[in-house]
């Protein structure tokens, strides 16, 4: 992960607030790095700020959401570094889609209902590839549809004539139209039924292997992320609470919240587990949080958790996570700590 030559995106201390009488601080000082071809999964409950973060990273925030701090650097295919937060709208538009694209949550609504599929490809090519002529644009749209497993004749179809799964495939084809280096996917399969979800996921994995783009994949489904991600960030109350290689997190999750999430769905490998959710609700992000935001729901919380916010730091041999258990001897065996504290 330290090979800077392949860096695609680096976010440092990004914060986002929804302005209002009491601003909602939806994303709080999040930092991340993404390298070429890497799949970064971001997991968390709804309302934890993961979608907001995705919008912030692609500069798609709209009022009342505003980025209140941090920098976002993007390295394009020619190796030039762009400070996304400082870009002029025109420059930003040039980078968009050609360098990084997005797949939105609801395939149902991500397509313009009154123009044909082909016309929506056309809009992209006309904007970013003005040198392409009409026939080339049409041909490329057909090839892209074919690539995601849709009959090329469908370029003439309107969105309402396609099924939900087909629409999401079209949306993915649109996202890949200019062969971007980064695709941000915000719950791309949530609105689909399980069978179609699986097909789409396989499609994404295949295309990624073929084309080699990096992915930021956002979902509440941690199990899914374990399967497809290289690295994985768990988000809670607007912060990353654990940021780890996906391979190891399933067995060695350090943060009690991650552990809780892992417990709340059946394991893919290994035997049956105790299926439990996490009691309680996420905190109100309009308030300043004293101490660890997860403390009220945490079965291991002790006094320090309620007064002092833990930092996102790595423990020796591990990856960054934000939990005071890191400083407690035998912290990796949290249940004992809990007993100690109560005694």
């Amino acid at each position: 992960m330290n090979d800077d030559a392949s860096l695609v995106l680096r976010a440092t201390d990004v914060s986002v607030a929804y302005e209002g009488r009491r601003p909602t601080r939806a994303v709080r000082e999040v930092s991340l790095e993404l390298h070429a071809g890497e799949v970064l999964g971001i997991a968390g409950e709804s309302g934890c700020g993961k979608s907001t973060l995705a919008y912030a990273l692609t500069r798609m925030l709209r009022p009342p959401a505003v980025q209140t701090g941090g920098t976002i650097e993007y390295v394009d295919r020619d190796g030039r570094t762009w400070d996304l937060t400082a870009l002029e709208p025109g420059e930003l538009r040039k980078l968009r889609w050609a360098e990084f694209s997005m797949v939105f949550q609801s395939a149902m609504n991500a397509l313009n209902p009154v123009t044909s599929v082909g016309a929506q490809f056309d809009d992209i090519f006309r904007t970013h590839r003005p040198e392409m002529d009409r026939a080339e644009r049409r041909e490329r749209a057909r090839r892209l549809l074919e690539m995601v497993g849709i009959d090329p004749k469908r370029v003439r179809s309107f969105p309402h004539e396609l099924s939900g799964g087909m629409r999401q495939r079209v949306v993915i084809a649109l996202a890949l139209a200019l062969e971007p280096r980064l695709v941000v996917m915000d719950e791309p399969t949530t609105a689909l039924d399980v069978l179609v979800q699986r097909e789409i996921l396989d499609e994404i994995s295949r295309l990624r292997a073929e084309l080699g783009f990096a992915v930021i994949f956002i979902t509440h489904d941690l199990g899914l992320l374990l399967e497809i991600s290289d690295s994985l960030a768990v988000m809670y109350a607007g912060q990353f609470v654990e940021y780890a290689p996906a391979r190891r997190i399933a067995e060695e999750a350090q943060h009690p919240y991650t552990q809780g999430l892992l417990r709340s769905f059946p394991s893919l490998r290994g035997g049956r587990r105790d299926l439990r959710g996490i009691p309680g609700n996420p905190p109100d992000l309009r308030q300043d949080l004293d101490g660890c935001p997860f403390a009220p729901r945490c079965e291991h919380a002790f006094d320090r958790c309620r007064t002092e916010a833990p930092q996102l730091l790595a423990a020796p041999g591990y990856w960054p996570f934000s939990c005071h258990l890191r400083d407690v001897p035998n912290g990796s065996e949290p249940r004992k700590v809990e007993v100690d504290e109560r005694a």
Binding site: L92, R93, N112, T115, D123, H160
Partner: protein
């Protein structure tokens, strides 16, 4: 492809036309006393009433002989032959001949003014929605003042300003009566000049409705996923606004056309009286003043059919601009 949509619309307007015709059949029953003898006696004062006029009138007013059904049949027979009887106002001209020349005046004026008003309102509304929260957008609520004005009062205001105070435009009639009516430049120029104030009235009074509807729909559409997606694709703001936001936001304005045109036509009818405009509204006013029942009936039907026709036209247009009306 869209045959089913077109068929459904045609069917609907046939039903609507039938309802208009039937309402018109029952309307004369509201007249206290025997309308036919009233009409004949009024006509007798103006000149010789041809034989058979009373019987024809009776049929036309739905008061023919026999059962209700046979009265209805006789009434329809009169309508099919465009036999609306003789006008009292312009006795003994047949009503159909009185109405015919007025149709074009009203149709052209309302059609053009509505077209201008729609384009203006939809354009400005899209702009205000796009720039929501700015100074342009803050002006939108003030248009409600225009929308709540009676058309005829606005007409009076414009006549007072443009005609009386500043003496810029003619305020009466549809053309200079000293000119020959026909396709010559002098007459057409005069007709255009005379139509400016009435058209201005219609546009000013109706533009607010289009504007407001379009503004709100644009604001709502701008937060739709497909607009956000279009922006994420790096499309230029103009393209996002026109091809994605406005293109979708305009649909409810088009499908709500019936309500709006109803307003405009109602306004136009009263307004023509202010300008002495030679259209259907002035004629209706004359018919009302002279208790010219046959003329009133013919006018009600004519105006209804004109409105139904324009609604059908707009519905068919809607079928073209919204692909979802196609069969999947």
């Amino acid at each position: 492809m869209r045959l089913r949509y077109i068929g459904r619309k045609l069917g609907f307007y046939l039903v609507a036309a039938w309802v208009a015709i039937t309402v018109n059949f029952f309307l004369p029953r509201l007249i206290p006393g025997d309308p036919v003898s009233i009409i004949i006696s009024r006509q007798t004062q103006s000149g010789t009433v041809p034989a058979g006029e009373a019987a024809a009138l009776r049929k036309l007013l739905g008061l023919g002989s026999g059962s209700l059904l046979s009265q209805y049949g006789q009434y329809l027979d009169q309508l099919v032959h465009l036999n609306f009887g003789l006008s009292i106002t312009e006795f003994p001209t047949p009503v159909a001949d009185v109405v015919r020349p007025a149709i074009a005046w009203t149709l052209v004026l309302v059609g053009l003014a509505t077209f201008i008003s729609f384009c203006l309102g939809v354009g400005l509304g899209a702009l205000a929605g796009w720039k929501r929260g700015t100074r342009i957008d803050a002006l939108v609520p003030s248009t409600t003042l225009l929308t709540a004005m009676p058309y005829f009062w606005l007409a009076l205001l414009l006549v007072y300003l443009f005609s009386q105070k500043w003496n810029l435009l003619p305020a009466q009639q549809g053309y200079d009566p000293s000119l020959d009516v026909g396709w010559n430049s002098a007459f057409i120029g005069s007709a255009i000049q005379h139509s400016i104030l009435p058209a201005m009235t219609l546009v000013i009074a109706s533009v607010g409705g289009w504007l407001l509807g379009m503004r709100n729909m644009t604001v709502a559409t701008l937060s739709e996923d497909f607009v956000v997606a279009a922006e994420a694709r790096g499309l230029s703001p103009v393209r996002v606004l026109t091809r994605y936001a406005a293109r979708n936001a305009v649909l409810p304005s088009v499908s709500g056309f019936a309500v709006s045109i109803g307003f405009v036509v109602s306004g136009q009818i009263v307004m023509e009286q202010v300008f002495n405009y030679p259209g259907l509204g002035s004629l209706l006013f004359q018919a009302v003043s002279n208790e010219d029942y046959p003329l009133m009936q013919a006018l009600f039907l004519t105006i209804s059919f004109a409105v139904l026709g324009s609604n059908l036209l707009v519905d068919l247009l809607y079928g073209l601009i919204d692909p979802r009306t196609r069969e999947a």
